[in-house]
Symmetry: C2
């Protein structure tokens, strides 16, 4: 730091007071919000934004810019206030907090250019921060990541997943600060102000822990210095604070969480008390113009690496290849072509075949061990900083990160989730290892693209499409080997489908995806021997679906649509097709798994749970 930071202390204290006032005014104007949660972190926030971080308030997306993640997203008003005071936008905007027309929402979202990922579901920001820190390493930048957590959210398991990954990956470019104000929403937190509880946990998890008084500016600056000098491990600054700090009648008081000061006497008293806390700063000192003196990130433009062309698939028709295996090959090829591609694993790389990517690109492969939340959270942070991350594991275990999947939709960040071992077709391992609700999970989210390929060629093509298509996406993969049915030149699209069998005499349309495509093809062959013809569709794009293609098939086949899916009935392919064709007046006959399955051989289970070729034939004949 060029400036002696000690000389800034009076001005930083004033900035903290100003941030408190800004937060209080904004929440009171809204009539809702969490002013006291802002007040406990005001001194830390002032130090970070006006004496520590290198950034340009007018160019928050600068790739060399330090990152700040507000994991305790309910303190959004002070985040907005800090950026406004730094010059990112007009301070008058702060009073539009939480109004329908304003991007200053109740909790931060990337609608604001200075927010990387949406927060507000506690314990997630610190996972995203792992991702932004990993990204600095990926692009060889010296930017640092700061993440501010609440003490209450430290009970979330995801925080400790992030703690493990942070220390394992020796992320010394990452600095956490826990605002230990001792009060949760409904009562004192688990450990109140027992700082040793925090210190011994973070130390045990391999972080450099520093306990400070979070309202002592020199201590905050000292700890940030120490963090910057600490090598080989991340730092967690544990700041003892007072909730509602600065306004005597709420300081450390229970019952003030998520409560705005009432406009009028209550608000006036609070503001008056704070205004008395301003201290004199000589007008000609650098401290008088904190916002002007924020160190800027490196401005030299970074050479943009142009992705190379992707090598097209090279499978032979009829080859038996599991889509999960095609996944491993496909992301490796993408990684060869584009350095933005990264892969994340949760100790199943030999089942998802992401170990192929690791072998080819070890520096862009991130092992999280069995910790799906931080895997997906870190992917969100990586994606927010320009990487194209493919986190993969068994599809059922991605549900461990369902809340991250939800927040990724809100953030609209381009994570490319891949779930293997979908459905009863995995066989003997039994229901705990079978994803049968994953399509419902992703399909429910507005921003997700959902693919479900049946063979290696379509898998490889769809994975390439996922990588280049903006926003979050999910690809569902199967365990069994399936024959290659597409030629290497076949093309696929978001919202597409393939008609695999058709004639002018089709009596019904059978719509499958993944393993059930082959059941549908078997049913076709069987029915054909009895001179009954059906149309067979591979619905590889489950969200969005090709409405026109489905309606056309319905019209051509007497309105008889049968969906067959290795998924529970609720929320999957049946529902997706039903909604698509509803306006055209068509309904859908759904073959799906309708009870908890069990262990057995794959083909036995397809039969037992109603989604085999025989069941399709029976359904067609029932018309």
């Amino acid at each position: 730091m060029a400036i002696d930071r000690t000389s800034l202390i009076p001005a930083l204290k004033n900035m903290a007071t100003q941030l408190r006032i800004d937060s209080i005014r904004a929440t009171s104007e809204s009539g809702t919000g969490h002013p006291t949660s802002c007040m406990s972190m005001a001194d830390i926030c002032a130090a970070l934004f006006f004496a520590e971080m290198r950034y340009d308030a007018k160019d928050p997306k600068n790739p060399e810019s330090d990152r700040f993640v507000l994991s305790k997203g309910h303190a959004a008003p002070i985040l907005y206030a800090a950026w406004a005071e730094a010059g990112a936008f007009d301070r008058a905007e702060l009073l539009k907090l939480r109004q329908l027309g304003s991007d200053l929402e109740g909790h931060p979202t990337p609608r604001l250019p200075f927010v990387d990922v949406a927060t507000g579901s506690l314990g997630q920001g610190v996972c995203a921060a792992i991702g932004t820190a990993l990204n600095a390493r990926r692009i060889a930048s010296d930017y640092r990541t700061y993440v501010l957590l609440g003490d209450g959210e430290s009970a979330e398991g995801s925080v400790w997943e992030a703690a493990d990954v942070g220390s394992m990956d020796r992320l010394d470019n990452l600095c956490g600060i826990t605002d230990v104000n001792g009060l949760g929403q409904s009562r004192a937190t688990m450990w109140d102000h027992d700082m040793a509880q925090f210190e011994r946990r973070w130390t045990a998890f391999g972080w450099h822990a520093i306990v400070i008084d979070g309202h002592e500016m020199s201590a905050i600056l000292g700890a940030l210095d120490e963090a910057r000098r600490t090598k080989g491990q991340p730092t967690m600054i544990l700041a003892r604070t007072v909730k509602g700090k600065g306004v005597s009648f709420v300081e450390g008081k229970d019952g003030w969480h998520g409560k705005a000061f009432k406009k009028g006497e209550e608000l006036d008293r609070a503001i008056a008390e704070l205004e008395k806390q301003f201290v004199p700063v000589p007008k000609d000192s650098p401290a008088a113009s904190l916002a002007q003196n924020i160190p800027k990130p490196a401005s030299a433009p970074r050479p943009v690496e142009k992705p190379k062309p992707i090598v097209p698939p090279a499978y032979r028709l009829g080859d038996l290849v599991a889509t999960r295996e095609a996944y491993g090959s496909a992301i490796t090829k993408l990684g060869d072509a584009d350095s933005r591609i990264v892969a994340l694993d949760a100790d199943v790389k030999n089942s998802t075949f992401s170990d192929r990517f690791e072998k080819a690109h070890p520096d862009r492969f991130y092992q999280n061990f069995i910790a799906e939340q931080v895997m997906v959270g870190a992917a969100m942070g990586l994606a927010a900083r320009g990487a194209i991350p493919f986190p993969s594991t068994f599809a059922c275990f991605l549900s461990r990160a369902a809340d991250f999947v939800r927040m990724a939709a809100i953030s609209n960040v381009g994570i490319k989730l891949a779930g293997s071992h979908a459905g009863v077709s995995i066989g003997e391992d039994g229901p705990s290892q079978m994803a049968l609700e994953d399509l419902a999970m992703y399909r429910a989210q507005p921003n997700y693209t959902v693919f479900y390929p049946c063979d290696a060629v379509s898998a490889e093509r769809l994975i390439a499409i996922m990588a280049s298509h903006p926003g979050p996406a999910y690809i569902r993969m199967s365990r069994p080997k399936t024959p290659v049915i597409y030629s290497n030149e076949d093309t696929f699209a978001v919202g597409g489908l393939k008609v695999l069998r058709q004639s002018g005499d089709d009596v019904a349309t059978v719509i499958g995806a993944g393993v059930t495509v082959f059941e549908a093809l078997k049913a076709y062959d069987q029915l054909k021997t009895e001179r009954t013809l059906i149309r067979v569709i591979d619905l590889y794009s489950v969200a969005p679906v090709d409405r026109d293609g489905l309606v056309a098939a319905a019209r051509a086949t007497g309105g008889r649509l049968i969906t067959v899916e290795d998924h529970y009935a609720g929320g999957g392919i049946g529902d997706a097709v039903a909604e698509a064709v509803a306006d055209a007046g068509f309904t859908v006959h759904r073959l799906a798994v309708r009870e908890i399955p069990r262990s057995g051989k794959p083909e036995e289970l397809l039969e037992r749970f109603g989604i085999s070729a025989d069941h399709i034939v029976k359904e067609v004949k029932s018309f």
Copy 2:
């Protein structure tokens, strides 16, 4: 313990060898499974089942029986072997492992009477064990809970949520054992055999940690003794083990995870090596008949407390009461009537009003702080032991426990989940706090009952139904106050609905639930002034739905069905109704939230995102 356990050591070693042989034979017969994961824990398993736990193999559900949870569920074969060796069933059954006709599935499920909750999704068993340990306290039993974890799964955040709750609740009736075999699925685990990594984490989280050699029988017995004597905190025994222990060509070798020994030479070699490890045990010593000497739990029958009648609701028509507030009152009244009712919170008790239950029944209220996974996992353990647990938080944050929700469906345990603050109607807090995919999540699961009441009376009635209805259930609750529209005498049912407005001239049926019921009623009033009549349905039971009632309404109103829901379009009420009426040939017009919402006032958001009365009116007029 009546018998000097030292004298049992040779026999226990033999039992461990036998369990290894049983596990290997079963997995080889199946051709799939995880024998090496069984072998590392065989000595621990022998000690637990034949020298430590009090249980009756013929009466595993005995309420006083010690509990054993196999958190590393992939080691199921040795669990089955232990129960078979103890006399629960014929050892010959073991060879049917993973066959469709056998309940000895790839991972344990409660289809087996000695399994409390399904495991196989790692990091969950230890949360369930918190619940069975809490249950012992609830029923004032001295039974102990033992839970065996893998080292790999210790990376799961849920494990640390459980660790916090276990120490906070001072569960000295809980003993964990971590089988530190150093190898995960795809590689060495995060900490390999660095036992200090485990020890400092568990110690930091407030557990009594004991590091032992997990193949040294006297050390295992000593640690179990020490755990039993440790008061005021749970114990974690950290057992250094070797994966594949007992068979030299797999011991500690990578690449053997989830691999059965090939029948023939490979299997024969393994068995031969193990058989050489049997040591002589004098035939007349008590050690020769370990299974006969398992200490039985107390057999005195426990007085069954008969639930008292539930006081009926006492609301007045038109009263403004949020359903979340009705929830707080309803569970409190249930708790008054029935000591099996317990409530679990994640630091939002003042928002879900579960603080009312806490006030009335503090000993049956379990605070988990902001840790939804352990909250739901502990509820699973409690439910498995006879309690009727109501875990509640914001509906969106229950998605943090989505994988537990899934495993609860597989377990078919009676957890009664309650999610508040559903939908855009929460207003200013913004999308991170809005559950808009929760109905999709629960509806996808086969075993769940899903309710969504619109007023206080129906909420109270449905909560009572949830409590008595078997299996898992979910109730969705709203933030805003809504008027009471049902009389205290109205009745409700699983799979029911209420027709709120009807006539012989209805041109369409509008189906709402929760807050949209009132939008539908407003639309009714508005249309009526224009002499258009509509049928209005409150679909309070979302799963199952009243198919006949919906079809009848469709028939009576020209087949024009409109669903309106404060939920995303995928997987919710629209899809539920569409599937129900599909066979009758009807389709559904869906009004639902179709993009990521934002902060604003509730009524502004209902309008902006397409689910207000005005949108309903427009939709009706479009016919």
